[in-house]
């Protein structure tokens, strides 16, 4: 147990509207929240291509597939991936590739090739800017009881920082980062004009 950042995807608005800020000290660009979104997109909406165009496109070898310990995530995706026409795709479990794409941001030059190459729009250039930022969950920088800057600055009410267990409506996509899965359909929060 420990403090976790909880993201309610259904409420999440673009940074210009939510005003979310980041206090990660190694970058001046206030883009830590984008790096979180990048990780979440890779974990949740990336199609996990068997032969991945993004990996093949990257000239720096900065993208690789790493085995995910969160194999159970895929079951949940099937449950919640309901669109207007019902459950989206019943793929047999064995057909899922559980490897998740990871970008080595020290190798990445921000060339944008992966964003152009991905057939599904998983990544876009705003999320992979150079220099990269990284959310470190403000570890070691918070007073007892204090919440990270993103939580206190975000105006759309999508962020919280609490000591919780991931349960049925939530998923710990990454260590200490918990996402509230929207009931309406997992893909929807990522649409432009949702």
């Amino acid at each position: 147990m420990g403090m976790k950042l909880i993201i309610d995807l259904a409420k999440c608005k673009p940074q210009e509207e939510s005003g979310v800020q980041c206090s990660y000290k190694h970058h001046p660009l206030n883009k830590g929240f984008d790096s979180l979104m990048e990780l979440i997109r890779f974990a949740l909406i990336c199609r996990r291509c068997e032969v991945a165009p993004c990996v093949n496109a990257c000239p720096q070898g900065a993208l690789e597939k790493v085995p995910s310990e969160k194999g159970g995530l895929m079951d949940k995706m099937l449950l919640v991936s309901t669109g207007p026409r019902g459950v989206l795709g019943k793929v047999p479990k064995d057909n899922f590739h559980t490897d998740i794409i990871k970008r080595a941001n020290m190798l990445c030059t921000g060339c944008g090739s992966c964003a152009i190459a991905c057939p599904f729009g998983t990544i876009y250039t705003d999320l992979i800017q150079f220099p990269s930022s990284e959310c470190d969950l403000c570890k070691g920088r918070l007073e007892p009881g204090e919440k990270p800057l993103c939580v206190t600055s975000c105006e759309d009410g999508s962020l919280d920082y609490q000591d919780v267990h991931a349960d049925d409506g939530t998923e710990e996509v990454l260590e200490d980062i918990v996402v509230k899965l929207p009931g309406s359909g997992l893909w929807e929060p990522f649409l432009k004009n949702k």
Binding site: P53, P59, G110, S113, G121, I123, Y124, L191, K192, N193
Partner: protein, 178 residues
């Protein structure tokens, strides 16, 4: 020109763009450590809209970062030129232009046209997963017959968007909503 001595092959002289293979992605601009040396600007007002990448040799420290990180490997490389003195400082500035590609759905910038074509070639058979790359390549091959009405088509996704060059967000939209 008389040189003081033989120039070793690996001498890090003036960086030169290879305009055949440089695709204008801007990675070199990102990794250049020297303020003002390599810079990039997207000019949406020009006809056609272009990206301009500018190199100022007077600021260059010949570190070789640009060459080492070039997306196409040969887009920029440090030449053997060791005596690039000029009388006029302006002569150390060179600018190259690359035509931009916009999303044919929402009008957002995707990258340079050359970058899409380079990806088509690099990905080989995998490019067939991605109509945007195929159309970009085909547009290049048939420059004269490009008038297929590819203006931004507005907000709602429609089946014909599968045959447009799309930005990542519109690709996602199309894949989910249709």
């Amino acid at each position: 020109m008389r040189l003081p001595s033989e120039v070793p092959e690996k001498y890090r002289g003036k960086p030169e763009f290879d305009l055949e293979t440089c695709v204008g992605c801007g990675a070199c601009v990102n990794v250049c450590p020297t303020p003002g040396c390599l810079s990039m600007e997207d000019d949406f007002e020009a006809t056609p809209p272009v990206r301009r990448i500018t190199h100022r040799y007077d600021a260059c420290i010949s570190c070789g970062n640009c060459e080492a990180n070039c997306t196409t490997e040969t887009g920029i490389s440090l030449s053997n030129e060791l005596d690039p003195a000029v009388l006029n400082r302006e002569d150390t500035i060179e600018t190259h232009e690359y035509e931009l590609q916009f999303c044919e759905k929402c009008g957002e910038l995707i990258g340079t046209k050359k970058h899409l074509i380079w990806l088509y070639e690099k990905l080989g058979a995998l490019a067939y997963t991605n109509p945007s790359l195929l159309i970009a390549k085909s547009n290049e091959l048939h420059k004269e017959s490009q008038e297929v009405g590819q203006q931004p088509s507005g907000r709602d996704v429609q089946t014909s968007d599968f045959m447009r060059i799309l930005c990542p967000k519109c690709k996602y939209e199309l894949n989910i909503r249709l």
